[in-house]
């Protein structure tokens, strides 16, 4: 178990695999650079990302808003009509920021210098799945995102504690309202069921006792910050996962992380996220053992995963369905184009089933094969025509209302119509030689887009397509790229 990958196996394919899974893929040049390192160097390069400066600026509104408390007060005291207007104004602002925030993150995934940090941030977002639909505050959503980034590969207990005190989470799972008279069990339950242990590893009594111990952890809406409220706190004796006393929230989280199941649960989930399949029991034991021995720090666990021969086995390489975010970000990278603008990126990811900051529920996205159904597979094929050829006609089905009722769809349609969409620059992707020789063209595109091989019949189909064209011009090259992206194979990484 977890033996290092054989140096002989380190080549373009395995390097591409590492870059796809630990990041969002890359161009052939990116992959060649990684393949030229030893596997150990490559893994360390990705994992020790804090050595690489990241100067991504924050969205300009992503800071505490000193005028907010006064505005809230004014809103409360206003007459009904004024209040309504103020609320609508607030909603408009939040919606605008939300769309900016999604784009800001997608950009950072695509072009930021630390792919693994963003990939882990995305993991934590799906794991501690918090939705803007309840939190309704882009600043808090951004703040939680930054928290995931800061602790991306850090320590489990520290991350868990930070998440439990995170304003968006306090609102999302109702901990903000929990008080000793009526302990709210939502967070206490989910923290064990979904975040740390899994069903069957705690009792209902642990939920109620845990909820009691967590009372007093609350949220100050005025300052938008975590606050301890002694008046809310139940200071009686509780028994939680075998420990008894006047337990606090910290005690609860410590006690959870001390369970042997805690290391197994998160190790298995991380393996599944990166490898694309659940690990065998034996593998979980090995991973959890590494994790525990490292003091429950994620870096050594991730190194063990990325460095293991299991991670590069045939059943794992090129056998993971790209998530919609991976599809969009990865496509932008291999096509060497910008991530589409905020409204379109939002529309694409949402209609493909992964609206960032709005996971379907507290369980997050199911992922895997569930990303794909007939509708969104056809949509991926059609959106490829937009990404490659700048063809906005394929986006017509994308009526973009805000998540709940209301207008907005028309506005979007107008934006679309007025938009000057660009196609990819084939000169960046292909040499002159590749653009003038059909075989070389197909080979270059296969290497860039599929990073493996298509079936012979598919290659023949593309060759037939090229043979049927009067000349090998830019439009034909673009259409060939689009066709290659319109295959089952392209949906895998």
């Amino acid at each position: 178990m977890l033996k290092p990958i054989d140096k002989q196996k380190w080549d373009f394919t395995t390097a591409a695999h590492l870059l796809n899974r630990a990041g969002f893929g890359g161009t052939p040049a990116d992959i060649d650079r990684l393949a030229a390192m030893t596997p150990e160097q490559a893994v360390l390069y990705l994992i020790n990302f804090e050595l690489i400066p990241d100067s991504t600026p924050n969205p300009d509104w992503a800071k505490p808003d000193p005028g907010r408390a006064d505005r809230l007060m004014a809103m409360r005291n206003a007459d009904p009509d004024t209040r309504k207007t103020m609320q609508q104004e607030e909603q408009r602002t939040q919606r605008q920021r939300s769309i900016e925030l999604k784009h800001w993150w997608l950009e950072r995934m695509a072009n930021g210098p630390r792919p693994l940090q963003e990939k882990m941030t995305l993991f934590w977002h799906g794991h501690f799945a918090t939705s803007e639909q309840k939190v309704r505050d882009a600043y808090l959503m951004w703040k939680q995102n930054e928290l995931f980034r800061e602790h991306a590969t850090g320590n489990w207990l520290q991350l868990l504690t930070a998440v439990a005190k995170d304003p968006a989470m306090l609102v999302w799972l109702d901990q903000a309202q929990s008080r000793k008279e009526h302990p709210n069990e939502n967070f206490a339950r989910e923290v064990m069921e979904l975040f740390t242990l899994g069903e069957g590893h705690y009792t209902e009594k642990d939920v109620t006792e845990g909820a009691r111990a967590l009372t007093g952890w609350s949220y100050d809406n005025r300052d938008e910050q975590f606050v301890e409220r002694p008046r809310f706190r139940d200071d009686g004796v509780k028994t939680f996962l075998g420990r008894t006393g006047d337990l606090t929230g910290e005690d609860v989280l410590e006690q959870i992380v001390a369970q042997p199941q805690a290391a197994r649960f998160i190790s298995a989930k991380l393996w599944n996220y990166f490898a694309g399949q659940p690990p065998s029991d034996e593998l979980v034991t090995a991973l959890a053992d590494r994790f525990r021995r490292s003091g429950m720090n994620f870096k050594p666990l991730l190194a063990a995963i990325f460095y293991s021969e299991e991670f590069y086995s045939d059943s794992i390489v090129r056998n993971q369905v790209k998530s919609p975010v991976q599809w969009l970000v990865g496509s932008s990278r291999v096509l060497e184009r910008d991530v589409p603008g905020p409204f379109i990126s939002y529309g694409l990811t949402r209609s493909l089933g992964q609206d960032l900051f709005a996971p379907p529920n507290v369980k997050g996205w199911d992922g895997g094969l569930s990303w794909i159904n007939t509708s969104n597979l056809l949509a991926r094929y059609n959106y490829a025509a937009f990404l490659v050829e700048g063809d906005t006609s394929v986006l017509r089905g994308l009526a973009l209302g805000p998540p709940k009722g209301g207008g907005g769809g028309m506005q979007f349609q107008n934006r679309l119509d007025n938009m000057h969409a660009q196609s990819v620059d084939v000169g960046k992707l292909l040499t002159v030689e590749e653009r003038s020789d059909k075989d070389k063209l197909l080979a270059a595109l296969e290497r860039r887009l599929i990073q493996g091989t298509l079936r012979d019949s598919q290659k023949q189909t593309l060759r037939d397509y090229l043979d049927g064209q009067p000349m090998l011009d830019r439009d034909v090259v673009l259409n060939t790229i689009r066709l290659m992206m319109s295959t089952p194979e392209y949906q895998l990484a």
Partner: protein, 450 residues
């Protein structure tokens, strides 16, 4: 492209691929079903597979935003009602009376005529224990048929597909709209969602043209099995052999690589989009629908039913019911659209001869607060009525009207007396003829409305 052309090429295609490569385990699971359906269609358009012409159909209609139940089914003789709603209460003279105490909203003329014709069941006071007043969460509860405190991964319709027809044609569930409702979430992804048949297909880009579409079709088709080449050229005697078809059917396992799954889905997408495009263009509506999103959705559903799509469940939705301010005009417009669209749909079904096969069920994530608010609107509430429409419904009033007496309210909202899962159970058992407990997680007393 003319439908018969599509049919012919598709038949040819299936003959050379399914019957060619069919015995390989990677073959799309549902192709065999489609294949037999197409063969049947070709042989005799009156003969259909089990999910075809003879199957019963459910149309789920979501009224998104939380419809105000009290002003939809109006307790016009109730003093509590009038006292709680000085601005919003509907005058007794205006309601479409059902009996001495309740009547329908004045713009629900479509529903009133269905009611009078014996085609509408009105289920009163539907909800669930510990009602949640968040749109997001309560919608999820209705879609997954979960308890208020439980999070379920799969939707109730998705669980129906998983239980009743694993490996079905994906068009067994069709949702009209851009997004698949959570109700369709299932272990084995099933069902398609489309805004219109023109977008549910491979669209050749600006530079594409026909060659591009042909290439797409080939890139997304399984390889013909060389050992079957001799049969590939045959004109159809083998292809029609029931024995061969039977052997293929149901033999495809659901496990396998992600690529197998994607290839299967790509095939499903190709065949179903051809089929939907062909079917929707060959049938004309025989009723006039309101010019509105819901009217358009239901007219498309009618064309798909008329064209013989093997769909058991259609899903349509109408938004805008979140009437916190100036409710009167908004709700009036929405209910008019609702009643008229459903009425047009039933007229269309009657004209097609399919009225006996369809059942329409409405739902909204919650009703609204009994007392009106300061903005001539209403805030999020709890229980509300559901409508079930069809030829074979138990027409009339089901359940009982919730009490509006202040002491009977739950934080200002009416209490439910029918659990919505009892309505689901009644439809699953009585209409779709399938046991409801595996789908709803446990036994709910079925409320039989059809």
């Amino acid at each position: 492209m003319k439908p018969d052309h599509i049919l012919r090429t598709r038949r040819d295609f299936l003959r050379t691929t399914v019957l060619g490569g069919a015995l390989s385990w990677t073959v799309p699971a549902f192709l065999s079903n489609t294949f037999s359906a197409l063969q049947a269609e070709a042989a005799d358009s009156a003969t259909q597979t089990a999910t075809g012409r003879d199957g019963s159909i459910l149309v789920v209609l979501q009224m998104a935003g939380g419809n105000d139940g009290l002003n939809t089914v109006v307790p016009f003789s109730n003093d509590y009602y009038h006292n709680a709603r000085p601005r919003l209460a509907i005058a007794p003279t205006a309601v479409l009376k059902i009996n001495d105490s309740i009547g329908l909203h004045p713009s629900l003329t479509g529903f009133k005529s269905l009611y009078d014709g014996g085609n509408l069941a009105l289920v009163q006071g539907v909800g669930y224990p510990n009602p949640n007043r968040s749109h997001f969460r309560s919608t999820e509860i209705w879609q997954t048929a979960s308890d208020s405190e439980r999070f379920e991964k799969y939707g109730w319709i998705g669980k129906y597909f998983d239980n009743a027809c694993p490996g079905c044609d994906p068009t067994v569930g069709v949702s009209i709209g851009n997004q698949m409702p959570q109700a369709f979430a299932s272990k084995t992804p099933t069902g398609v969602s489309l805004q219109n048949p023109q977008s549910y297909r491979f669209i050749s880009g600006a530079n594409g043209g026909n060659t591009s579409e042909q290439s797409y079709r080939k890139l997304n088709s399984p390889d013909p099995d060389p050992s079957m080449d001799a049969h590939a050229g045959d004109t159809g005697a083998d292809a029609n052999s029931g024995g061969t078809i039977g052997a293929i059917s149901g033999s495809a396992p659901h496990t396998g690589s992600a690529l197998d799954f994607l290839e299967r889905t790509a095939m499903d997408a190709q065949v179903s989009s051809d089929k939907i495009l062909a079917v929707s263009s060959k049938v004309a509506n025989q009723a006039t629908y309101p010019q509105s999103p819901l009217g358009n959705s239901l007219s498309l559903v009618a064309r798909l039913i008329g064209g013989g799509l093997p769909t058991r469940i259609y899903y349509v939705s109408q938004g805008g019911y979140d009437t916190h301010t100036n409710q009167i005009n908004t709700q009036q417009r929405l209910l008019q659209e609702l009643g008229d669209s459903v009425k047009a749909f039933t007229d269309d079904m009657k004209a097609q001869g399919n009225m006996g096969r369809v059942l329409v069920m409405t739902f909204s994530e919650f009703g609204r607060r009994v007392a009106e608010n300061a903005n001539a609107g209403t805030d999020h509430g709890a229980a509300a009525p559901m409508f079930v429409v069809g030829d074979k419904v138990r027409s009339g009033l089901l359940g009982r009207y919730p009490s509006l007496a202040p002491e009977d309210l739950l934080e200002g909202d009416v209490r439910y007396n029918v659990d919505f899962r009892s309505v689901y159970a009644g439809i699953l058992e009585g209409w779709l003829k399938t046991p409801s407990a595996p789908i709803l997680g446990r036994h709910f007393q079925p409320l039989l409305c059809a």
